[in-house]
């Protein structure tokens, strides 16, 4: 009996101790998330107070998904295509590049600390400051155009700036996103490579395995679960990107760099927008990110019974 009382008291003490954190999570975390989901089924024109919201069911989703609002659905289509291009670039460029750099860093004997510092610099620098620097580089009178002019490549110069031309704006933005995302993936791969037992490589050398075989049979099985994480992380960055675009181009020129999160922001806070539609768009992007993450898990996740060597 005394034991049960003591156990109950201990449990109560535990609940009381975590109550503030749980309360904060419920109010700031869970409540806002649930509120946002509910609001996505209401129409709340920009500037109106919350009690003026009207229930509209799925109309908000129809507005931008199935042409219910011709203009908005056109903007949304362009934005989501841009997000998917960014996601494609992240997967195809960041992952292999991070892996290659991690392998080279791991094998390097000289200047490892210097190269590591250089590659990890974007992680420790203020992101908004970085975007303004990139904006300066891409300016019509910026360093990139000046460099091209100095080496005689005048025909390559972007007259309106690299983020001011329709055909170069998105690739230029992708370069900055890749540059910013590389360190996070690099750190994970580098840590993964450190975990590989070097004796396995020695044994493989004795067995006559070549570099490719060592990569496929020893290195890759260790890095495969890390690749899942890296892929999900980069997909999330690509589909949730906002700050680079907002600081550097605001979705211009003419929607060339428009992404869904910028459209959500404009819908939520600009004249003629609708908070309900903004929430509906946000949750649509969440579902897309979730589905793509599940696909990544399916493709790269460990299957049951499979052993890694």
């Amino acid at each position: 009996m005394n034991y049960r009382k003591a156990a109950r008291r201990e449990a109560l003490a535990g609940y009381l101790l975590i109550a503030p954190a749980v309360g904060l999570f419920i109010v700031i975390g869970l409540f806002t998330v649930l509120f946002s989901i509910v609001l996505s089924f209401f129409s709340l024109p920009q500037g109106q107070l919350i009690w003026n919201a009207k229930f509209v069911g799925l109309d908000n989703f129809k507005d931008f998904l199935s042409g219910g609002n011709y203009i908005l659905s056109g903007f949304f289509r362009q934005a989501i295509v841009n997000n998917l291009w960014i996601a494609f670039a992240m997967v195809v460029i960041v992952i292999p590049l991070a892996l290659i750099i991690a392998v080279l860093l791991e094998k390097a004997t000289r200047g490892v600390r210097l190269f590591r510092t250089i590659f990890l610099l974007p992680m420790v620098t203020s992101s908004v400051a970085i975007y303004y620097v990139w904006q300066g580089l891409y300016d019509p009178t910026g360093s990139i155009n000046q460099l091209l002019a100095s080496i005689g490549l005048d025909s390559w110069i972007a007259k309106n700036g690299w983020i001011g031309e329709m055909h170069t704006a998105l690739p230029a933005i992708i370069v900055t996103i890749v540059w910013g995302a590389l360190p996070h993936s690099l750190i994970l791969y580098f840590a993964g490579l450190q975990a590989v037992d070097t004796h396995l490589y020695e044994a493989a050398d004795i067995d006559g395995a070549n570099a490719w075989q060592k990569l496929v049979r020893i290195t890759w099985p260790v890095l495969k679960p890390i690749t899942v994480i890296v892929m999900i992380m980069n997909l999330n960055v690509a589909l949730q990107v906002f700050d680079q675009i907002w600081v550097m181009t605001k979705g211009g020129p003419a929607g060339a760099t428009q992404v869904v999160n910028v459209l959500v922001y404009q819908q939520a806070f600009f004249q003629d927008g609708n908070m309900g539609v903004a929430n509906a768009m946000g949750w649509t992007m969440f579902m897309l990110t979730f589905i793509l993450s599940l696909i990544s898990l399916k493709l790269f996740g460990d299957k049951k019974g499979e052993e890694s060597h």
Binding site: G47, Q48, N69, G74, P253, A254, F269
Partner: protein, 483 residues
């Protein structure tokens, strides 16, 4: 080892505490939030201030005034200083920029019941009145006829709820039930300035360097010819404007030029989407941009510029002409441009226009709204009345480089540049001032498609015809959804 660690920890703790207290002590010496630059009115010697403060009445009342216009803050502060001398009431200004952040903050404050005593908004009937949280002024205006009659007619009419507003809100699903229930004659904000768009600013030095006289061109065609001459003789592009901000070209240029060119009837049909942009009468709106682009008269990168960077580019002499409003002058001088290097004129009309001499009545740009539920409502009302008295408006206008909303009997009290701008505007009512609901159609959703098309034309990725066709589709869809 442990003793050594303990000593180090003790030393680190004391050093940290010392640093924290030292920084706190230094920090408390900082004055204002540093957003605004000190104005002339506040530059009086300390000893005089102390004398004045001991002579002026004392009050514990502190009012908060929220706004988003950095360049107007010196004006608000100058008036607040004078108000404090008279009443002892302190008015603290809070600037939140950019507009979207300010808007977000206000809406959140309204929902939370924590609105400031006074807030500034764009001037429009019942705008940001937050369903009755704003004080209604019609009673006060009726009580104080002298104050009411001091306003420019266009200033007050621009913020008074009219039957036309109520009829429009009745059909608008975005309007709240409170808005729909407002009555004609109600006033929820007091205008503090007037202004107009449709101003072209010219750089005197560049224009004269090209061998031209820095004066208003007689026609649109003459203005384009000036730009071509400037480009030919000096290499400087003729024109810059904020291409990345959709509303600038549409609302500060296009609508008035089209009205002058085509007259009331055709312009109204165009705004109501009964005439198409691809109609030869209205096609000029994109052909002009296309021709400027082909002739190299637009500043490279203009398509990516926001309003302030466009003003900066003009102030730095990167283009001969810039598009703005009467309020742009304040921005140019704040950036550091010498007022003597600037000349300005109303956007010119095409040759053969129906109304080439259309005058633009100034309309109210910014209004002050008082919190009806605030603890210091009476003091806030008193401050707004002082701000919009002749004395307050002269102080405000001279420090903010903004046009006052009231009639200034002695114009010499205003800065010469403000005087000159005020004299270029008509105070009489006309079709343009009486029909804002028509020309403000350029702020509607379909015009975002126009703006995108315009940028594509600027960058050479589309033709004027293709962009016009895209806009016509969007306009038709908008008209169908909003009959």
């Amino acid at each position: 080892m442990n003793k050594a660690n303990l000593r180090i920890k003790r030393f680190a703790t004391i050093a940290s505490l010392f640093t924290v207290f030292a920084l706190a002590a230094c920090g408390s010496n900082n004055g204002n939030n540093g957003v605004s630059s000190p104005s002339n009115a506040s530059a009086s010697p300390e000893s005089t201030n102390e004398q004045n403060e001991s002579a002026s009445p004392k009050s514990d009342v502190k009012l908060t005034l929220s706004h988003w216009k950095v360049s107007f803050d010196p004006g608000f502060k100058a008036v607040a200083e004078a108000f404090k001398q008279k009443t002892g009431i302190t008015v603290e200004t809070q600037t939140t920029t950019p507009d979207a952040a300010y808007s977000q903050k206000l809406i959140a404050s309204a929902a939370a019941g924590s609105l400031p005593d006074i807030w500034a908004t764009d001037a429009s009937p019942a705008y940001r009145a937050f369903d009755g949280k704003a004080y209604e002024w019609s009673g006060e205006l009726s009580k104080d006829e002298a104050w009411k009659n001091g306003f420019l007619p266009a200033a007050l009419s621009g913020i008074t709820v009219a039957q036309a507003n109520i009829d429009a809100w009745a059909k608008d699903e975005k309007a709240s039930a409170w808005q729909k229930a407002t009555k004609p004659g109600q006033v929820y904000g007091i205008p503090i300035d007037v202004g107009a768009f449709y101003m072209i600013y010219g750089n005197k030095k560049i224009v004269e360097q090209a061998g031209l006289e820095a004066k208003e061109p007689a026609t649109f065609e003459e203005w384009v010819s000036m730009m071509k001459t400037v480009k030919e003789k000096t290499g400087t592009p003729g024109f810059v404007f904020a291409g990345n901000v959709g509303g600038v070209y549409n609302a500060w240029f296009l609508n008035l030029v089209d009205y002058m060119k085509n007259g009331e009837e055709s312009f109204t049909k165009f705004m109501n989407r009964e005439e198409k942009l691809s109609d030869p009468k209205h096609m000029w709106a994109l052909k002009f941009i296309e021709d400027l682009t082909k002739d190299g008269l637009l500043l490279p990168g203009a398509a990516s510029l926001d309003i302030d960077p466009a003003d900066q580019a003009f102030a730095q002499g990167k283009a001969a002409f810039s598009l703005g409003g009467t309020f742009t002058f304040a921005n140019l001088t704040a950036i550091g441009m010498n007022p003597d290097d600037v000349f300005s004129f109303r956007v010119p009309a095409f040759e053969g226009s129906v109304f080439p001499d259309a005058t633009v009545s100034p309309f109210p740009l910014v209004q002050m709204v008082v919190n009806n539920e605030g603890p210091n409502k009476e003091a806030a009302i008193e401050f707004v009345k002082f701000l919009t008295s002749e004395e307050g408006q002269v102080l405000y206008a001279n420090h903010a480089y903004d046009l006052p909303a009231v009639q200034i009997k002695d114009g010499s009290k205003l800065n010469p540049s403000i005087q000159a701008m005020a004299s270029s505007l008509s105070s009489e009512s006309n079709w343009w001032s009486e029909n804002p609901l028509i020309w403000q159609q350029v702020f509607k959703e379909d015009w975002k498609v126009f703006s995108e098309g315009m940028v594509k034309v600027m960058l050479g990725s589309s033709t004027a015809e293709a962009a016009a066709a895209e806009y016509d589709k969007a306009a038709a869809a908008y008209k169908k959804a909003n009959p």
